[in-house]
């Protein structure tokens, strides 16, 4: 699989937030989930990839071309879905077809009609009459109708009901099924990513904590639950992070099997993406500092 997106030491400083040097690679034909709490830097990362935000350092390579000076050309092969519908409310999907035909070289009116049909979007109805779910479905149809090699999604499923979310996820799976398309999907709805992501990248306070295959995360990571006294006797280097509450300690291990052998008296559960995110963001690490 060729790498279609590479970020090397990309940084951006704002007054109240800094994106630490970010290194990330996205292979072709995969869905990568970008998780992190609000303000972790997910949207900033997507904007840096699009070149719509100036970098303070580092290099972005998309489809083997560096971004500098090629932004407009590279964006011909990128589709973007934002967290809210971006189209003017007085427009109809038919109007959008007319507009985007003049924007993207590879725009296909047939594909757009097909996706709108699949997602039951009426072509002649004004967007202001659409529900939020319909608007998001329309945004996704627009984003993929020019057959982009890379689809960037910024919290696109937040606020949608489970049925619409499921429709969207199905469409995404179909989109990457030919292994020529990739998706970078920023979300804090970890449930969606557990369903469809191949890789998960975790951003916390502007710093990339890890990029791992989802299966590795779900099969290898575990939550060790034990009492405080018991935890005090444990080797802290076995844990990526831990949290104490009034009754117990929950510790995140990167190797569930080893932890099972080493601590047979403890309850060790499979760690979901949400657990991992919570422990990394709110827990304590071995270095003794609050993350």
């Amino acid at each position: 699989m060729d790498t279609i997106l590479r970020l090397e030491g990309v940084t951006r400083r704002f007054d109240t937030f800094t994106l630490q040097p970010l290194n990330l690679e996205l292979p072709g034909g995969v869905i990568m989930g970008l998780i992190g709490e609000n303000g972790a830097g997910k949207t900033t990362t997507l904007r840096l990839i699009l070149g719509s935000l100036r970098r303070d350092g580092g290099k972005v390579t998309v489809f083997g071309k560096t971004l500098d000076g090629n932004e407009a050309n590279i964006r011909q092969d990128i589709g973007v879905v934002f967290d809210e519908c971006c189209f003017h409310e007085s427009m109809t999907p038919k109007n959008l077809d007319t507009i985007f035909r003049g924007v993207y070289r590879n725009w296909s009116s047939d594909a757009f009609s097909k996706y709108c049909g699949m997602l039951q979007i009426p072509m002649k109805k004004k967007i202001k009459e659409f529900s939020r779910g319909m608007k998001m479905k329309l945004s996704i149809s627009v984003a993929i109708s020019h057959n982009p090699k890379l689809l960037l999604m910024d919290e696109a499923t937040s606020g949608l009901d489970p049925v619409v979310r499921d429709d969207v996820l199905e469409l995404l799976q179909e989109f990457v099924s030919d292994e020529e398309h990739s998706v970078l999907f920023s979300s804090h709805i970890t449930e969606d990513l557990e369903k469809i992501a191949d890789y998960v990248a975790y951003l916390h306070k502007g710093s990339l904590q890890f990029v791992r295959s989802k299966d590795e995360l779900l099969y290898e990571y575990g939550i060790v639950k034990c009492g405080k006294n018991e935890f005090a006797r444990m080797d802290k280097s076995d844990f990526a992070a831990w949290r104490e509450n009034a009754f117990e300690v929950q510790a995140l291990t990167e190797n569930r099997q080893t932890a099972r052998r080493k601590y047979p008296g403890c309850v060790i559960d499979q760690a979901g993406l949400e657990d991992i995110m919570l422990l990394y963001s709110k827990g304590t690490s071995q270095r003794g500092k609050e993350r």
């Binding site: 719509s52 973007v80 003017h88 409310e89 924007v103």
Partner: protein, 211 residues
């Protein structure tokens, strides 16, 4: 860029659909009363200023469109250029309407058709000058200041037009000055150069605000 142009033309057409009816009424009245230069000229000038203001600010009404626009395969200079092209297309359409009505008026009163051209040229040049001032102001200072400039320009145009007609500032002399092909040509060249300069300034403003 053509896609963005289609978007703006569609949006403006939807918004000003009913204004076409008013334009028709104003045109008929102006021809009947032989006041095309004054009534229709002022009406079109103000309409053009309103359309230009809407072209720039219409995207602010859909706050998320800006995000979408920055993700499209269009460079910043093209985004700004598209606004100018759209404004000029509307201006051209307005100019043609004015010219046709002016010709009709001249035919009705048995005057030479060529008399219709100087005022049409003046109207186009005045609208270009207004556009060149208004668009950078809208990009830099937003709608409030942009509208203030628009009102100022509208007031200046009204005073000029009313003054020419009623206070005898010498509309005959004014028209005869405009009738000179050299003056008309220079006026149009100046308007085009001013518009290009304005586009460069607006692109710079857009680019600096963009990132």
């Amino acid at each position: 860029m053509t896609g963005l142009l289609r978007k703006d033309i569609l949006l403006i057409a939807k918004r000003y659909r009913t204004s076409l009816l008013y334009l028709l009424i104003a045109a008929l009245l102006a021809i009947r009363r032989e006041r095309v230069d004054l009534v229709l000229g002022a009406y079109l000038f103000v309409s053009m200023l309103m359309i230009q203001a809407d072209l720039i600010t219409i995207d602010n009404e859909q706050k998320n469109w800006k995000k979408m626009e920055r993700s499209l395969p269009v460079a910043a200079y093209q985004i700004v250029l598209e606004k100018y092209v759209a404004a000029l297309l509307f201006l051209l359409a307005g100019g043609i309407v004015f010219l046709l009505c002016s010709i009709l008026e001249k035919v009705n009163v048995g005057k030479s058709l060529w008399l219709a051209f100087p005022t049409a040229t003046f109207l186009l040049a005045a609208c270009c000058a207004a556009l060149s001032l208004q668009i950078p102001v809208l990009y830099r200072f937003g709608k409030r200041v942009g509208v203030a400039v628009f009102l100022l320009l509208g007031a200046a145009a009204c005073i000029a037009v009313v003054g020419i007609r009623w206070w005898n500032w010498g509309d005959a002399g004014f028209v005869s000055l405009l009738s000179s092909p050299t003056i008309s040509f220079l006026l149009m060249v100046a308007a085009v150069m001013l518009t290009m300069l304005s586009w460069l300034i607006s692109t710079r403003i857009y680019h600096s605000r963009d990132k």
